[in-house]
């Protein structure tokens, strides 16, 4: 199906047009918005086709699988690409309220499009080496976005970010080299087919651990997450929103992919390790969030903590838990992107995101506060929002799999999240401001983007039943593998 290349081709073309177009803000912003909307539209097309007709495959240039590069979209990849479109559109809208001129002159908009292309490519590729290439595309764009400023804090954050990501890439590449040495292919479907016949427990464990380390750095799992809170709060809100919404999720996606395709029958100790790492991520992330007094740093630690939910569910490898994990990833992409945009508005209003300088929003900015309430309470897991439903799905999954400890931990961490976000809401919005007052207007583009993302959250809440049915089918597809393998390699296998 040719449409499959569009979510990659559209942002690439947009980036090229943006580079050639006049470097004035207005045309750049409109082209970027058009590109993002087209990306969203093409992603929805791909999704509808996958939803109706099952796993879709495109062999680039007609080279059959194993010789050429394969693009594959199963339900998980398709819904995630739609989420990329949603986040991309929101980021492009926010650009209308002004980007720091230095960044805009240095091709901010094309870099955002290249970032979107890298993320969409990573979700759609059916080849592990190609996945590595998309990781690098995404990383180079994020490096430049991160480093396009000369303040001391940003320089420090950028260097940490670059170094740790280069280490993760080297580990990933090492794993790929060994995997190729063992099997002679890096095509995901072919690997899923031949791996059970080739792998020996030793090789299986070594490779799984290498993949686990590489992707855990990207996803931000304990003990490998410390780079994330050290860097994500430094760039402007729109960039932070794109990073927080998409980049760590690519790590989670890659973990889901390798563990469902290759290492599903690896040693139980490996899954226990993943579970332990996830549990520590949840607890440490949320305890650290409670200790922070800066809105954006609270978000960074909440981001880290909630990644633990999804990977803990992954470690159980049951359909119900995996369905809950996919639901939670989708909810989290929308909500965390939205909250980083909220932090951008706070920064515009008060020139700070330290809670000491916030407060009184509820009185001064009732519309903005009402909009911000939706993602804040959704992340906190207050019923009936999507965060509550996502946690419920994960809880059901863990209890059904007999993982009572994990379920209990999810509940405790849910309570901590509620505490963290409740306090954030009270301190930033509800509490009367001591002597703080607004120095600027929130900016209509920001409000439009926040309203749109809040609407998506509400829609995910109302449409939770069909969405959950969808993620359940996605989880089935991941665990059964036959449909994926057959779609890529043809009916003979």
């Amino acid at each position: 199906m040719r449409t499959l290349v569009l979510p990659i081709l559209v942002p690439l073309s947009t980036a090229v047009v943006l580079m050639l177009a006049p470097k004035r803000p207005v045309p750049q912003r409109w082209i970027s918005l058009t590109g993002s909307v087209l990306l969203l539209a093409s992603a929805i097309l791909v999704f509808l086709r996958v939803n109706a007709a099952g796993v879709q495959v495109l062999q680039i240039s007609g080279w059959p699988a194993l010789f050429g590069i394969t693009l594959v979209a199963d339900l998980l990849a398709a819904v995630l690409v739609v989420a990329v479109g949603v986040v991309g559109t929101a980021i492009s809208v926010v650009a209308f309220s002004g980007v720091d001129p230095r960044r805009e002159a240095f091709g901010y908009h094309s870099l955002i499009q290249i970032l979107l292309m890298g993320v969409a490519g990573a979700f759609l590729t059916g080849d592990f080496f190609n996945l590595y290439v998309w990781f690098e595309v995404m990383l180079v764009a994020s490096f430049v976005l991160m480093a396009l400023n000369r303040t001391r804090v940003q320089m420090e954050a950028a260097f940490k970010y670059v170094t740790i990501n280069l280490i993760a890439s080297s580990i990933f590449l090492t794993a790929l080299g060994l995997l190729y040495g063992a099997t002679g292919t890096l095509n995901m479907a072919e690997l899923a087919r031949v791996w059970p016949t080739i792998s020996t427990p030793g090789v299986d464990t070594v490779l799984a651990v290498l993949f686990l380390i590489a992707f855990s750095i990207k996803a931000g799992l304990f003990p490998l997450f410390f780079w994330l809170p050290a860097s994500y709060h430094t760039p402007p809100a729109a960039i932070g929103a794109a990073f927080a919404g998409l980049l760590t999720k690519v790590g989670v996606y890659a973990l889901i992919r390798v563990f469902t395709l290759l290492f599903h029958s690896a040693s139980p100790a490996l899954f226990a390790l993943l579970l332990a790492m996830s549990a520590a991520t949840m607890v440490i992330g949320l305890v650290a969030a409670l200790n922070e007094r800066d809105f954006r740093r609270v978000l960074s630690f909440n981001l880290v903590g909630h990644i633990g939910y999804t990977t803990a569910s992954l470690s159980l490898l049951t359909p119900a838990a995996l369905a809950g994990a996919i639901f939670y990833v989708l909810h989290h992409i929308v909500v965390i992107t939205n909250l980083y945009l909220v932090s951008g508005v706070l920064l515009r209003l008060r020139r700070t995101t330290d809670m000491a300088g916030l407060g009184g929003m509820y009185r001064d900015q009732p519309v903005f506060s009402a909009l911000a309430m939706i993602p804040i309470f959704s992340l906190a897991g207050v019923p009936p929002f999507s965060g509550f439903l996502g946690k419920l799905a994960i809880l059901e999954g863990t209890f059904a799999a007999g993982a009572y400890w994990t379920g209990g931990l999810v509940l405790v961490v849910g309570l901590l999240t509620l505490l963290s976000m409740g306090r954030t809401w009270a301190d930033s919005f509800w509490r009367p401001a001591a002597d703080a007052h607004d120095v600027a207007a929130p900016g209509t583009p920001f409000l439009v983007a926040i309203a749109a993302l809040s609407l998506v959250t509400v829609a995910m809440t109302i449409g939770a039943e069909p969405l959950f049915e969808l993620t359940s089918r996605g989880a089935q597809q991941l665990l059964q593998r036959d449909e994926y393998v057959r779609a890529v390699l043809g009916g003979t296998h």
């Binding site: 480093a147 000369r150 001391r152 420090e156 260097f159 170094t163 280069l166 590449l173 080299g177």
Partner: protein, 114 residues
């Protein structure tokens, strides 16, 4: 030959990681370079070594005759070298800018408030 390359790649990994644990930016970047070259060598070695048998169909023949060198690891390494080179160049520019902004190449000093 495999043993020799495996040892060489191991030495590159070790040296790279050692340099990355140093505090100076310049050493960190050399470490990144060594690490990525160690990885490239590993891919090449793990893919299997075949001497003097290029994967090119000779004149007049219809197909390759075994044994021939596997072209895929070569393609992978080539891609990885290009990507690694680009990232190394980017890190160098970033380090130069960090030095220009902060006035030191000690990583601990970069994070310290004045």
């Amino acid at each position: 030959m495999e043993v020799l390359l495996a040892v060489a790649s191991g030495v590159l990994y070790a040296a790279g990681i050692y340099l990355m644990l140093r505090r100076r930016l310049a050493q960190l970047i050399i470490g990144i370079g060594l690490l990525s070259n160690g990885t490239n060598l590993l891919i090449f070695t793990a893919g299997g070594l075949t001497r003097a048998r290029p994967p090119v169909v000779p004149d007049g023949a219809q197909a390759l005759v075994e044994p021939y060198a596997d072209p895929v690891p070569q393609a992978l390494v080539l891609t990885a070298i290009v990507i690694g080179f680009g990232l190394l160049a980017f890190s160098l520019v970033l380090a130069q800018r960090v030095h220009a902004t902060v006035g030191t190449d000690d990583i601990d000093e970069v994070g310290r408030e004045r």
